[in-house]
């Protein structure tokens, strides 16, 4: 019986080798995939079990974690949650994180590679590991001013420091209170989430960075003008054809001016005047002459089509359509047809013009510090592209000053400060909907400190009567005042 016993012993060894292989497969080979499985609450518990770092604006925490006596150990809460929701996002046991809570998750929970030394220190000293804090570039006064000025209207505001790219204000309306999603009662969190999903105006959407991008309307004329100036075909004084109604090639459609008005006299106007009064026919004609490729190229130098941009919240790329026929080129030159832009993008256009044509990469996070206040990371302003030459930028600046001084953007005038801006009133493409009101601006024109873009969906409170000058410009003005008032 010894031979079968020896064979059986071999079988037993083989069984255990298989078991060891199985354990290795699960715990080593597949471990990463299993740990990253969305259904794995352990990962969540592990994350929640750590002291998560705060998100700080102007020296005060807008998101922080406090110890609680339940399975998750820490409760995340948001001070002034609605105001900062598009910045912080939320961090929920059911839906994980969004916005910065997601984008900077590994820093906030202390697991980032850059925090390795700090973790090692904690391991040796036996200290409870803590997440790092992130300090934002947001200017609380500007944020509040944008929030207040937008009132109950749907829309978004983005303000940038044109010289660095730092985001000074980022507002999206309607907003929501992230605190209702961070409850550790998963049923309640889920119910709140479902309610927000179905809520009027999509509060969960970050309209400043990600929401369904908007047609930029006449604010896009800045890019059309930039393309014309860069091409060397035009100067601000160049005379453009500006009929009351411009027939388009290959179609019976025509382009008219806003309210059927005429711009200039005798069907002619200068480029500067055309921008000042936002003359559609002149820019449509200009767009036809420049061609879609020139417009697309210029828009891309301002940041359109950049699908890698993150601040570090992912930014939905703004688009200039790929294939455009002649009549649609004319509409595209006016920021209509399939041209789409985020409020951040239009703020970047103003910022680049303000910064002598140099477009800085926008960013939200100024400083990352460990719990011991050691600086782990400091924002490093970087050039994204040279959107236009300094000469073109100066010309555009002067033209934009004209818009505010004596054109469609008078509502943005501030006494003692020269504001450069451009209005936009964008048709949504749906007959029954009022147009979106746009305004993008920077100030002071000679030494810019803030660039801003405002969109008010469907004309906001004014509805069908809305223009960018009427509805959006006052909001931009409030933000500029808030930044300069300090």
């Amino acid at each position: 019986m010894n031979t079968p016993l020896r064979r059986l012993a071999t079988v037993v060894v083989a069984m255990f080798v298989v078991l060891m292989g199985g354990a290795t497969w699960v715990q080593f080979v597949q471990a990463d995939a299993l740990n990253n499985d969305g259904r794995n609450v352990r990962t969540l518990y592990r994350e929640f079990g750590r002291a998560r770092g705060p998100i700080v604006v102007g020296g005060e925490a807008i998101a922080s974690s406090a110890p609680v006596d339940d399975a998750f150990k820490y409760q995340r809460s948001y001070a002034n949650g609605e105001l900062y929701a598009p910045v912080t996002g939320f961090y929920s046991i059911v839906h994980r994180g969004t916005m910065l809570e997601q984008a900077e998750n590994d820093v906030l929970n202390g697991q980032a590679d850059s925090l390795f030394l700090s973790r090692l220190q904690d391991l040796i000293t036996g200290k409870q590991p803590q997440g790092s804090s992130i300090e934002l570039t947001i200017n609380p006064a500007a944020q509040q001013a944008a929030w207040d000025a937008l009132g109950d209207q749907r829309g978004a505001v983005v303000a940038l420091d044109p010289t660095t790219g730092a985001i000074l204000a980022l507002v999206s309306k309607p907003s929501y209170d992230p605190n209702q999603l961070t409850t550790h009662d998963s049923a309640a969190a889920n119910a709140a989430y479902q309610a927000l999903l179905g809520a009027e105006g999509d509060p969960l959407e970050n309209k400043a960075l990600q929401g369904p991008t908007y047609p930029p309307g006449s604010t896009f004329k800045l890019i059309t003008a930039a393309a014309a100036l860069e091409s060397g075909r035009a100067t601000p004084e160049s005379v453009l054809t500006a009929p009351d109604e411009l027939p388009l090639p290959q179609t019976s459609a025509t382009v008219k001016n806003y309210g059927g008005s005429s711009c200039g006299s005798g069907g002619q106007t200068t480029l500067a005047d055309a921008l000042r009064v936002s003359c559609n026919t002149a820019f449509a004609q200009l767009g036809l002459e420049l061609g879609a490729d020139a417009l697309r190229e210029q828009s891309e130098r301002f940041g359109f089509g950049n699908d890698e941009l993150s601040v570090p919240i992912r930014v939905e790329p703004s688009e200039f359509p790929d294939e455009v026929n002649a009549p649609n080129t004319a509409f595209s030159a006016l920021g209509q047809y399939s041209v789409r832009a985020t409020p951040l993008q239009m703020a970047m256009v103003s910022a680049a013009i303000a910064n002598e044509g140099e477009l800085m990469t926008p960013y939200l996070v100024q400083t990352v510090r460990t719990a011991d206040l050691d600086v782990v990371r400091e924002a490093d302003p970087r050039r994204l592209s040279q959107a236009v030459s300094p000469t073109t930028a100066a010309a555009l600046r002067d033209m934009m000053v004209g818009v505010v001084q004596n054109g469609s953007g008078k509502a943005a005038q501030i006494s003692g400060v020269q504001v450069a801006g451009k209005t936009g009133t964008a048709q949504t493409g749906r007959e029954e909907e009022s147009p979106h009101a746009w305004f993008t601006a920077f100030a002071p024109a000679d030494a810019p400190r803030v660039a801003v873009a405002v969109v008010v969906e469907n004309g906001g409170a004014v509805g069908n009567e809305a223009t960018g000058g009427k509805v959006a410009a006052p909001v931009a003005k409030a933000v500029i005042e808030a930044v300069l008032g300090q």
Binding site: N2, L8, Q27
Partner: protein
Amino acid sequence: MATIQPHRVRPGRGVELALLVPALLIGLAAYALTGLGVTGELPGNVVGYGVGMAALALGLHVVLRWRAPYADPVILPVAIALNGIGLAMIYRIDLGMVARGREQDFATRQLGWTTFALLLAAGVLVVLRDHRTLRRYTYTAMVVGLLLIVLPLVPGLGVEINGARIWIRLGGFSLQPAEIGKLVLAVFFAGYLVTNRDTLALAGPKILGLQLPRIRDLGPLVLAWAVSISVLVLERDLGTSLLFFGLFVAMLYLATERTSWVVIGLGLFLGGAALAATTFGHVAARFDVWLNALDPEIYNRAPGGSGQLVGGLFGLAGGGLFGTGWGKGRPDLVPYAESDFIVASLGEEIGLTGLLAILLCYLVLAERGLRTAIGVRDGFGKLLAGGLAFVVAFQCFIVVGGITRIIPLTGLTTPFLAYGGSSLLANWIIVALLLRISDDARRPAPDLVTGPPPGTTTAPLPVRTPGSSRAGAPRREGEPEPSADPTERIAGPGGVR
């Protein structure tokens, strides 16, 4: 001139004592670390616990010195270490449940069962002076074993838990009679097979190179198959069914050395399982869960979804190579983390490293058992030791294989680790029997000089009371017991060390 030195066998009790120290320390350290990891303080009763476990282990050690001085020195320390690790993890799950607001004190109960089981093991060693005595109870064992298996089916006694009817409730205690059943059936199989092995092995036609048994000799095999399939069908317990059948086929193979039995046995079982999988929803669901565990549809299915299995996989993955540390993971998230899924709990907190160490412990235990079987001189002892060692290893394979998705998940307890009194009792009795048999295997043969004259067998004759109750044993008269066993000539004096 060359002289032949008699091979001196060291009893190994000193080695055993030396091994018991780390074995006890592992369990105690795990227990202390669990308290430190969860609450930040040592468990209140850590000293009492340490002293108690040490007293029990050392007590058993003393019993071995007294009653089985040549017993294998590794088996007891390995079992003590596993039991200690299991206790620590059960205590850890208790703490996890308390942290979630659910009072649970399985650890104290398990400690009680451990005490009882170790005392019982000592009792077995004291009372059972010679394992061959058990052969007298071959058919009693059959009856008792079958009764134990069908016990949960008795109305009013058996209870159904999670669809499987393998429990009985006796005054406040839930017991799994099948755990004891596997032990009793191993005794029956050993006794039956040692008597009938020649008929099973040699008679019958040979087809395609396989020595087939005679139809009438198939009776017991068919019976065992029928029993395990009926367990599958009536008690809805795939694991126990697989365990019984695996045990029977392994022992049949040991007795007959005929591969044909293994082939026939496997064929029958796979056929039965396939039939069950297509006929019964709950078996089919198990296969579904096994093959498509991570599929969202299967994961979310309730009841019968893969939530528990995948939860265990998440736990194992979370532990990674080195684990979270005692008390630092969340093993309590998986249902039955202290019993069926204790391996996943351990994998989470002590990592792949710890889990592999535990598997090696089992392997050492099983191989020491098989070594004992090779060393022992009588056929009954060989079959019993081989069967018992195999059943422990096979049970591990079914449980751990189920949790790591090597085979479909079945509800079996992990020997020594998992919470559950019946399982602990059964496995400690197995340890006691293996120790008893290994004492016989390793005990040096009587000195040749003072031994019986040449021409007689060197092995001690076991049957002292031939008139006793070997009821039903067919060849009682003149059966030349151990000397008929050909292996006796192979296993010389000294056996294994």
